[in-house]
């Protein structure tokens, strides 16, 4: 047996540096770098008439001021549209600095470089921009009317329009299936904007080496490899002359997957031009008004069902607010549309969305990426059906579940990765059974009645979801064993706190049979690994985890081959345990992996003891063979890629008990229970941490967080004073249970877990509040004031 580390709650190896203040985040680097600051538009929609920088020129320590006019070709071009889609007929992206029109408050207009950030901001404050104010387009339905345009050449403000239809097995379209159903309902749902809001904002730091003509860029990004390619292209540099490193990153949650940000192009360009190190670290207000938001949708639902609650037809029309630009395409509404079906087998489905421009911050994925909206829609629908039929809400869900023997289950749609939406595995009835038991579902009516007798108002709610995780196209892993017996693992994707250094080390240690301490892991550094996609869509463990496992298997195979030669044994009789390759059943016959690493390289200068020791094994190569045989490479290392045929589908179910105050309408979550299935667990402690964090963000989105825009397109709550992110006092204790249905699609049998926690929370809380109040809850988030208003409107 080799060392079993896979599946253990191993303590994290990243912690030591982070708890001693030795972590290196973006703004911890480049102490002597010049600082950049930006003049950003104070208007939601305006034409830039003139920029007067004269007053700023006297500022002590000023180095440079740049407007769009100053930018060279390519740098000045609109930023790339990353994920085009045929339905995105009117994709638009911003210029790195505004050219003539600004389309949201916060859009960068002028870049200032100075000796430090204080001075850069002094200069920025003295720059006068003359704007001609244009009519702002704010509010998704307002924008959809199209009476004023965000982009002159985008009629109706419609960037994309997509319809997907899955007819029933009898060939009936959703409309006819609904019309023919014994019961039908139609209603509208609203979800407001929130945002990823990592505690560390974005940031870029660039060093141009004039002698070497090379550029090293650090960025607080979720994808260093793609930032590198973007920078090389924009600056016209050969790819090998650009390296990008994601240092310690203080949370991402989606917003840092967008690339290149204007600053990721402009800061390196300025560093090259000035021949000086330049750094920009985003401040909190900048993050609110110039990065990205998500979630805002209006949904119109029509559903037809039978007496048991089986959904016979479902028709959903979505208005999706994507803000001023579409650099990330229409991934968010596509995910909403395709993940809406959840764990259910639906008769006929039709979904249509329009993705609409507004003069607000652009919308790109935030943890969950369109799924919280999808689940809100589907689960509110399940609750409405239950209420209409007078059935138990859990029972209606169970009636619609895909059964364990129906996998692989084809939902008949195209998923976000352009591949068929086929669920690989799961056990939804068992999840529901576990959840009901955990929260005490069946005993709740008695509990509720008892509380009511004492003047307390309780409600229970639940929500189910399926999450496509581990989207392709690929990730890679490189594993090298050096002559000191250490194992160096690298993968191109980045980390923002998920504990990749730990879980990837667990995988490598398990695969190679070495102690965990011998393994080191590097992520997100293009100097170590150049090909990667990035960290999003709950894909890191699935993609890089499997790639690293495959690379380890190559290394292991080679190590056994070399050791077999040295030990004069059959490789099939060898095992690796604790860093020692040995003959099974004969502990005497063994060779350390370190020695095998030396043996793997015919050049053996005796730089270390291990090399000296290896001489005792070195059989002379026959004179008629080259020292490195054909097809071989010197060194004990391996590289491999994992590229899945399609995504693997994790799932889960949450339930909550809430209490609402009969007088103040205050909403408290008394209990929160999670059943979660992400296939085989690599490190249960880390998975649980991911769930806790996700649920906390979900609670924020359900009860506290929203982006409040006024009619002029001003974000009224662009600070932590006014945007209410939950503190410890707002987040309930979260009870978790795991179900493990391994994925048949990948060697490790794992599924993604990063986003899961956040996905069903708004649906669950809405369900519970509705149960407590007996009032339909159809928009989230909900504040006590809004609940109070709902009661008043209902005459309570």
């Amino acid at each position: 047996m080799t060392t079993r580390l896979f599946g253990e709650p191993v303590q994290r190896r990243e912690d030591r540096r982070l708890i001693t203040g030795q972590g290196l985040f973006l703004d911890d680097l480049g102490r002597d770098a010049l600082a950049a600051a930006f003049v950003r538009s104070p208007h939601a929609h305006a034409r830039v008439r003139d920029i007067d920088v004269s007053a700023a020129l006297d500022v002590d320590g000023l180095v440079a001021i740049y407007t769009w006019e100053d930018l060279p070709e390519r740098v000045r071009d609109p930023l790339p549209l990353l994920i085009p889609h045929p339905a995105l007929t009117h994709g638009r992206t911003a210029y790195p600095l505004a050219r003539d029109v600004v389309r949201h408050v916060g859009e960068p207009v002028v870049m200032v470089v100075a000796r430090d950030r204080y001075l850069a901001e002094d200069a920025a404050a003295l720059i006068e921009v003359d704007y001609e104010i244009l009519k702002p387009v704010v509010g998704i339905e307002e924008a959809a009317l199209g009476s004023h345009l965000v982009h002159d050449d985008v009629p109706g403000n419609v960037g994309a329009h997509l319809v997907q239809e899955v007819p029933s097995r009898a060939g009936l379209g959703a409309g006819r299936a609904i019309d023919a159903a014994p019961h039908t309902l139609a209603f509208r749902l609203d979800i407001e904007r929130s945002a990823s809001t990592p505690l560390e904002g974005r940031g870029v730091y660039a060093r141009w080496d004039a002698d070497d003509r090379s550029l090293r860029v650090y960025s607080s990004t979720q994808t260093s490899t793609s930032v590198r390619m973007a920078i090389a292209a924009k600056l016209g540099l050969p790819l090998p002359s650009v390296e990008v490193v994601a240092p310690d990153v203080g949370g991402g949650f989606g917003v840092k997957i967008v690339h290149p940000w204007p600053e990721e192009v402009l800061v390196p360009w300025a560093a090259m031009l000035l021949g000086r190190e330049v750094k920009w670290a985003e401040d909190r207000r900048e993050h609110f008004i110039s990065s990205a938001h998500e979630r805002g949708q209006v949904q119109h639902v029509r559903v037809g069902f039978d007496d048991e609650g089986h959904v016979l037809g479902l028709d959903v029309t979505i208005l999706h607010d994507h803000g001023a630009y579409t650099p990330y395409g229409i991934i968010v509404p596509i995910i909403t549309a395709t993940q809406l079906l959840g764990p259910y087998r639906i008769g006929a489905y039709r979904v249509e969305f329009s993705s609409i421009y507004t003069n607000t911050v652009q919308v790109t994925p935030y943890r969950g990426a369109g799924r919280p909206q999808a689940v809100f829609c589907m689960e509110r629908t399940m609750d409405r059906i239950a209420a209409h039929l007078g059935l138990d809400r859990a029972q209606v869900r169970a009636a619609n579940f895909i059964q364990p023997d129906e996998f692989p289950y084809d939902q008949g749609m195209v998923f976000q990765d352009g591949r068929p939406l086929i669920y690989d595995s799961g056990d939804y009835p068992e999840s529901l059974r576990m959840l009901k038991e955990m929260i005490g579902w069946d005993g709740f009516p008695a509990m509720k009645a008892e509380a009511a007798a004492r003047g307390r108002r309780l409600g229970i709610g639940l929500g189910c979801y399926v999450e496509g995780t581990g989207v392709g196209p690929y990730e890679g892993g490189h594993v090298q064993v050096t002559s000191d017996g250490r194992v160096h693992v690298s993968t191109g994707l980045t980390s923002q706190g998920q504990g990749h250094e730990t879980v990837f080390a667990q995988i490598a240690a398990t695969e190679l049979g070495v102690p965990l301490e011998k393994v080191s892991v590097v992520t997100g550094d293009t100097r170590r690994f150049g090909y990667a996609v990035g960290t999003f869509a709950s894909r890191a463990a699935v993609m890089s985890g499997n790639a690293i496992a495959l690379a380890c298997r190559k290394v292991r195979e080679k190590a056994l081959r070399i050791a077999a030669d040295a030990l004069e044994a059959d490789p099939r009789d060898l095992e690796i345990e604790d860093g020692l390759v040995r003959v099974v059943g004969n502990p005497e016959a063994s060779v350390p992996l370190a020695t095998v690493a030396v043996l793997s390289n015919p050049l053996r200068y005796a730089f270390d003891e291990e090399a000296a020791r290896a001489t005792q094994f070195s059989g002379a190569t026959p004179m008629d063979r080259p020292p490195v045989p054909e097809g071989e490479e010197p060194g004990l290392e391996g590289r491999d890629y994992y590229s899945p045929v399609r995504s693997t589908f994790a799932s889960g179910m949450h339930a909550a008990i809430v209490e609402t105050d009969p007088d103040t309408a205050e909403i408290r979550i008394l209990r929160y229970a999670v059943v979660h299935d992400c296939g085989r667990l690599i490190n249960p402690m880390i998975v649980e941490g991911q769930i806790h964090g996700g649920v906390a963000q979900g609670v924020g989105g359900a009860l506290y967080e929203r982006m409040v825009y006024d009619g002029h397109g001003q974000l009224l709550n662009a600070s932590f004073m006014d945007f209410l992110m939950p503190y410890a006092t707002e987040v309930p204790a979260i009870e978790t249970a795991h179900l493990e249905t391994p994925s048949p699609l990948n060697p490790l049998g794992i599924k993604g877990a990063g986003e899961a926690g956040v996905i069903p929370v708004s649906a669950v809380i809405a369900s519970a509040i509705e149960d407590a109040e007996g009032l339909p809850i159809d928009r989230m988030p909900i504040s006590p004031a809004e609940l109070y208003e709902l009661r008043r409107a209902a005459g309570r």
Binding site: F25, G497, I686, G689, T729
Partner: protein, 172 residues
């Protein structure tokens, strides 16, 4: 024409440091960029997130709301000063790691300083006191549950350390 600079001396993690700063320089920037102690983080610069919390004469303060000049003559402890002289982790640091109370680690220095002060005031806090005690610090990653757990664990570890006089985990 440069800004007027003020000469200040402050004791940081037991060492006297002299530095010349403009009157408007924030203590957070002074620690991070003038003294190179980048363990103290800045998450909002308006006093809400608590990432920048350091101990000023033992009391937690938001270094983003404090001018460096006002810290002259005072004792400051940052996250870099929480471990013992030989680098042995304080009970609070150990507990955070043990309980998986950090993910990205950006908020962590602020929590560690806050909790260090909290447990010094109240070595055996109740559940409610713990939640209350950390309710001025934001964390976007952990959902707080493991942070709460870590505070209780730290209290336990500190109590054990006190019972074994040879070990003094923290010197802050």
């Amino acid at each position: 024409m440069g800004e007027a600079l003020h000469e200040i001396a402050l004791t940081v993690n037991g060492v006297v440091r002299e530095v010349r700063v403009p009157g408007r320089r924030l203590l957070s920037d002074c620690l991070r960029h003038d003294l190179g102690l980048t363990g103290t983080h800045v998450g909002c610069e308006h006093g809400v997130c608590g990432c920048c919390t350091v101990l000023l004469d033992g009391e937690p303060v938001r270094s983003c709301l404090t001018f460096a000049v006002t810290a002259g003559g005072h004792e400051i402890t940052t996250v870099e000063g929480l471990a013992g002289p030989e680098g042995e982790l304080s009970p609070v640091q150990r507990a955070f790691s043990e309980c998986h109370a950090l993910q990205c680690g950006f908020c962590t220095p602020g929590f560690l300083c806050t909790v260090t002060a909290l447990l010094r005031e109240n070595p055996a806090p109740t559940g409610e006191q713990v939640v209350e005690g950390i309710s001025g610090n934001l964390c976007r990653c952990t959902g707080y549950q493991n942070i709460v757990k870590a505070v209780h664990r730290a209290a336990e570890l500190a109590a054990e350390a006190d019972a074994t006089p040879a070990r003094t985990g923290e010197h802050a």
